[in-house]
């Protein structure tokens, strides 16, 4: 059986065709680099994604500050993690890299601030 994948690891977005035999990968074609094969393997076992959103910033020059995950998490956990993040608030000032949630839901990824924002003086 053949299955098609769009690799999302880099902007090339290679269309990869994987030949599968009962869940096992027999061959992959179409990947422009080695990461493509690893991506297909991950998609078959446990697809992972990162995402970004923003949280309320209290006392800041901006009403919001953006955050992201440091590592991809299992795809089916996106909504749970998203909900948890939305319950967080940050206090100005904040700096890039500051941790909002460490090892979120025990998934091995942190939620970090991605924008510097000063206090409203």
């Amino acid at each position: 059986m053949n299955r098609r994948f769009t690799c999302i690891v880099c902007p090339n977005g290679c269309e990869i065709t994987a030949e599968l035999d009962g869940g096992k990968i027999v061959s992959v074609a179409g990947a422009r680099c080695k990461k493509g094969g690893a991506y297909v393997r991950q998609e078959l076992t446990c697809p992972r994604r990162t995402f970004s959103t923003s949280i309320i910033l209290e006392g800041g020059k901006l009403p919001l500050v953006s955050v992201r995950l440091t590592k991809p998490i299992p795809k089916e956990k996106i909504f749970a993690v998203n909900e948890l993040i939305h319950r967080q608030k940050a206090q100005a000032p904040v700096r890039i890299g500051q941790i909002v949630l460490e090892n979120v839901l025990g998934l091995g990824s942190d939620v970090i601030i991605t924008k510097n924002a000063d206090r409203l003086s």
Binding site: P11, N12, G13, F51, S52, S54, S66
Partner: protein, 414 residues
Amino acid sequence: MTAIHKEAVIVGGGPGGLAAAVKLKQQGITDIIILEREKQLGGILRQCIHDGFGLTRFGETLSGPEYAQRFIDLVEQEKIEYRTDTTVLSISPEKHLTAVSPQGLLEIDSAAVILTTGCRERTRGSVAIPGERPAGIYTAGVAQTYLNLKNIMVGKKVVILGSGDIGLIMARRFTLEGAKVEAVFELQPYPGGLARNVEQCLNDFDIPLYLSHTITDIIGGARLEAVIVSEVDEQKRVKPGTSRRIECDTLILSVGLIPENELSAGASVALDPRTGGAYVDENFMTGVEGIFAAGNALHVHDLVDFVSLEAEKLAEAAAKFIRRGKLPVCGIKLVTDKNIGHIIPQSISGTKDVTLTLRVGRPLTGGALKLQQDHQDLLSQKFIKLVPAEMIEIKLAKELIKSTSEIKVVIAHE
């Protein structure tokens, strides 16, 4: 009012302008200033909070604001002068600039002017959708500003017209913010944005993408209530009997970006209708000596990494121009066949190796991309598939160039 003098003025403090400024400084050009209309440096990246920036540049995947901050930090370190809240109103062909800020007018005479003013979005007017004019219709970038910078949610039931990257990214953002994205409709038979964004922003969230579809009517009073969508044929004519109604309170337009070139006309900078940006030579110099352009102001990029690179190449050339007062003549024109959407630069000197950047006009499968001069192939690159969403680079070594005749860029089918 007396004008101040500068070696270089950089108009626009987005990633293009920041990279150009840092590179100029590193090349020993110290008397420079960045003018930025917004209150902060960083350009459009301030609102692009998703990750995927900087993979080529830094080998890691950053969000837009983080990517911008790396360059802002360099600008600070290099002690480069900048003014925010300062809008350039006009530039003359003699490189006299007039800008306005809350402190008043600013007049500058400069040896070189660098245009890194970014791009703007096509709006409803430029795609001509008939129907009512209710509230609830936004361009993707405006919705991105509301959601990511101002904490304003624009709607709950969303339809997206156009599958450009910003529209795709916004489909995911809306979903994560609790809105329901009903569908994305695209006029072309192929997606406008990158395949990875179709995958991770639509497919991951089961948002359907309908190709060869358009919106044929807009329904609503004070607020949008529904849109009518129809299928189109190859000639983009609406297929009769295919229309259906989709209830929604918000319509997002992601129908393309155009280089921002309001200042160019006044400066007599000629624009290429294919890119919407200036004609430039291999030095990123426009038709007006000493005026340079790069980044989205020149042609729309999908990756900021390439914007930074392009701006740095520009800065290297601009530094030479500032020191010598001129640059080598670029008499070799680059012309394209109908398969090629556009090419940058549009002319070269033939005396140095150059990287050409181009996009195809429509998806192409199986063939070769060729550069020809005097009816001979200079180089030929085979490809399996080329799509308009992807920017293509070709390196052309100076040794390959045989004369000063024009170089043709063509697609040969197999």
